[in-house]
Symmetry: C2
């Protein structure tokens, strides 16, 4: 496994690989690797000859009062894990901005959900991802569905700026108790860590209700919020249902829908989500049920 620190060197390696007809899979990370990242690597390996992972805690995606300095870092551990999982190259730049004046911004879909309380966050994400795409020159880029809004934003970035890159989405990886794995989980207090699975539990509750034919998302989210409000220290930032990947607000289950939430436990912000894909099956089932009822009457 190679560790590359210079932008130009990474570009020369990428050019050489492409000249040799090698497929480059890219896993961008901010390090402090966990099971979620390692699943991104697994998916990248399935599609590519060479897997490049970047490790860079990107300052432009953190707001002035956010946890940039507290974001956990441990390169030695990351290096070991990446090597074990078969990463070929770690791109580990020292710094990525030199008198920067240029930003890439996806409008509208970045102004809701996480974007509402983190106004410069997605601009920072799309700017660094553009830079990394230009440096690593991948055929595939793998992102996690845990950041579902980010995934929708990156897909829009790729479409709108004509990046010749295919996006692969990895499902959410969870701890045994249901908490979505995240580098930030280590910053939770013991008590908050014990309570944090409530995000997933509340999503599971919504899923159960949907499976039973409920489609009133406003009502379901109201009930789910209540579950979290009962937990000490848990403060909901948002709990929303939006069409996916367009991210338009929806109140009834009528199309592919993202149900997403962000909850602050003290200074630690956790997110989780669920994508309801098979709404049409549900609709069909509901219709059948309704038909049966009507026949019975």
């Amino acid at each position: 496994m190679q560790i590359i620190r210079k932008i130009e060197k990474m570009q020369r390696i990428a050019d050489n690989l492409r000249r040799q007809n090698k497929i480059i899979g890219f896993v961008p990370t901010m390090g402090y690797l966990h099971k979620g990242h390692l699943n991104l690597v697994k998916l990248a390996k399935e599609k590519s000859d060479i897997v490049v992972m970047s490790i860079y805690v990107n300052p432009t995606q953190f707001g002035p009062n956010e946890d940039f300095s507290k974001y956990p870092r441990n390169f030695e551990r990351d290096e070991k894990l990446a090597k074990e999982k078969g990463v070929d190259i770690i791109f580990y730049p020292r710094s990525m901005y030199k008198n920067n004046l240029t930003f890439v911004n996806v409008e509208k879909i970045t102004e809701i959900l996480c974007g509402a309380s983190r106004p410069i966050h997605f601009r920072g994400v799309t700017t660094i991802v553009t830079k990394l795409f230009n440096i690593v020159k991948p055929h595939y880029a793998v992102f996690g569905q845990k950041d579902a809004q980010q995934a929708a934003v990156i897909q829009k970035l790729i479409n709108d700026l004509d990046f010749d890159i295919k996006l692969i989405l990895s499902p959410i990886i969870r701890e045994d108790d249901g908490l979505a794995v995240s580098s930030r989980n280590v910053n939770l207090t013991k008590e908050n860590r014990r309570n944090a699975p409530i995000l997933y539990k509340s999503l599971c509750y919504i899923k159960e209700q949907i499976d039973q034919g409920k489609t009133d998302l406003i009502q379901l989210i109201k009930q789910a919020r209540k579950m979290i409000d009962d937990i000490p220290n848990a403060k909901i930032d948002y709990y929303s249902a939006v069409s996916y990947p367009e991210l338009k607000s929806v109140s009834k289950l009528e199309q592919k829908t993202l149900i997403a939430l962000a909850v602050n436990f003290g200074s630690v912000r956790l997110i989780d989500n669920m994508i309801i894909e098979n709404y049409w099956q549900l609709t069909k089932t509901n219709k059948n049920e309704q038909g049966k009822l009507e026949n019975r009457n």
Copy 2:
């Protein structure tokens, strides 16, 4: 010469060329080719194996009251000229934006000179150039110095977003009477066309004064403005001196300096400029002169 209309096809061709180790030179244009464009092609050919020219009148760089619809177009003529000059591929897309939400913006240096009176212009330029770079995948991109601010903005875009592309600048090409060639010149009335060389004449006046040791740019520009104010129908938008390529306002000739102006003749906006490179020679000469004077006293 190939004419490519589809983004994906252009990307596949670019990939194949790069796999064959061919150097791609790129000349982005809005068509209605003139001697200036053809010089860009000449410079591209010197550096590359394959020259790709794009022809696309980009709507996002025109303001609501600007001349997008009146911008001259003539593809057949362009095709013939490009072929004669040895262009290998014309990328001639039908449309380039589909429900676009994404913009690339270089801040600060786009807010002055042309950017002051055309607030969305450079955002449109950097967005389309980013898209074209991702489609054509060139090693070299050739731009004209006539749009000196644009050239500085594109260089900053390349640096800040880590595009692996080298920028080549072509000098300003002029008609026999000194008017900088521009696709917009055909839209001038006969009288305004006759008067339009005043832009260049005023720059030549400044250059002469500088060659004679003058360094007070504010004073020189004041005199140059006067020359244009005397011309019927000519309305100065700006006449400025800035450091190059940083584009910071300067009042004295102490570094590499861009002297640039924009003048409206009716609805036709003309720009011209001059870069003073050898300020240090001038300074040295001035110092020597001063030394001689001091010795004499």
